[in-house]
């Protein structure tokens, strides 16, 4: 399912994207009108808006990976993380901008996976922008109905003895999965451990990398 779309590929090997020559939609016009009014009235500036876009684009799963690596190496942090994830994350100097966060613990017996069936709620401050498939109707509708099949399509086959907990991010909280620490990583530094943590492992749709 991650690759449901069969996009056209140009002779140069790049995906084909049509020029956006069509007229603006109602909402595009509305956005431009409101933005220009806010700038004209001195509420904000074009530079401020751009700085915000730059900082939004700069967020990446590396931040979440730091949290996971710390949870693997620091028992007190781990306990604090599952008690109150937002405070714990801020305690190690990560600014998540008031995000209300719950950390979900993967164990040998329990596997957690996160979906937002209503829209696309996602812990952007920890993981960056969500992948396109996270917002697709297929992922949103199927993950609550047949999570094992969906995870198998991501390459994650879970034994029947593992309970799957699907978390539908329907309201105020955001979720990050804390995968289990892989075997064979005893000697690794926190930074090296963080390199093993993938975006999908923190959504619950993928494994962490092998050391």
């Amino acid at each position: 399912m991650p690759h449901d779309h069969h996009d056209h590929v140009s002779p140069s090997g790049h995906p084909f994207r049509p020029d956006n020559d069509h007229p603006l939609t109602y909402w595009q016009q509305m956005e431009i009108a409101i933005r220009e009014l806010l700038i004209e009235k001195g509420v904000t500036t074009a530079a401020e808006i751009n700085a915000q876009i730059v900082s939004m684009d700069a967020r990446s799963p590396a931040t979440g990976a730091r949290v996971v690596a710390r949870a693997w190496t620091d028992a007190a942090f781990r306990a604090a993380l599952f008690a109150d994830a937002a405070s714990a994350v801020e305690s190690i100097g990560i600014d998540i901008g008031g995000l209300r966060l719950i950390a979900l613990e993967n164990t040998e017996d329990v596997h957690n996976v996160v979906v937002c069936t209503l829209c696309s709620c996602y812990p952007r401050d920890l993981l960056g922008l969500p992948p396109d498939w996270y917002k697709s109707r297929a992922y949103r509708s199927r993950t609550v109905k047949e999570p094992r099949k969906v995870l198998a399509e991501f390459g994650l086959e879970l034994p029947p003895s593992t309970t799957i907990r699907v978390h539908d991010s329907t309201a105020d909280m955001r979720y990050v999965v804390i995968p289990a620490r892989p075997p064979g990583t005893a000697g690794l530094s926190e930074a090296a451990l963080a390199d093993l943590v993938t975006r999908d492992s923190m959504i619950g749709t993928g494994p962490v990398k092998a050391p």
Binding site: L118, V144, R148, R165, D168, T170
Partner: protein, 95 residues
Amino acid sequence: MTERRFMRVRHDMPPGHVRTPAYLRGKTGWIERTLGPFPNPEERAYRHEGTPLPLMRVRFTMAEVWGEAAETPTDTIDAEIYAHWLEPAEAPHAP
């Protein structure tokens, strides 16, 4: 383990901005934890301040939500449901 507090999600289909997923309406689960209070999003969507309400994380079994069609009946779905959508209920099936 403390005793499970079962709640049933109201089986209503009101118009407007609602954050209670339709597939969980009428289903019974137990409180996983209580959060909030948070302002009611159904009011905030219309520019009201929003009455502060407890937000419950409710855990449902796949058996409860999908019945015979459940992929694995003992797997679970957790969702955040505002308190005004919940009413106390009996356990839906033998634990």
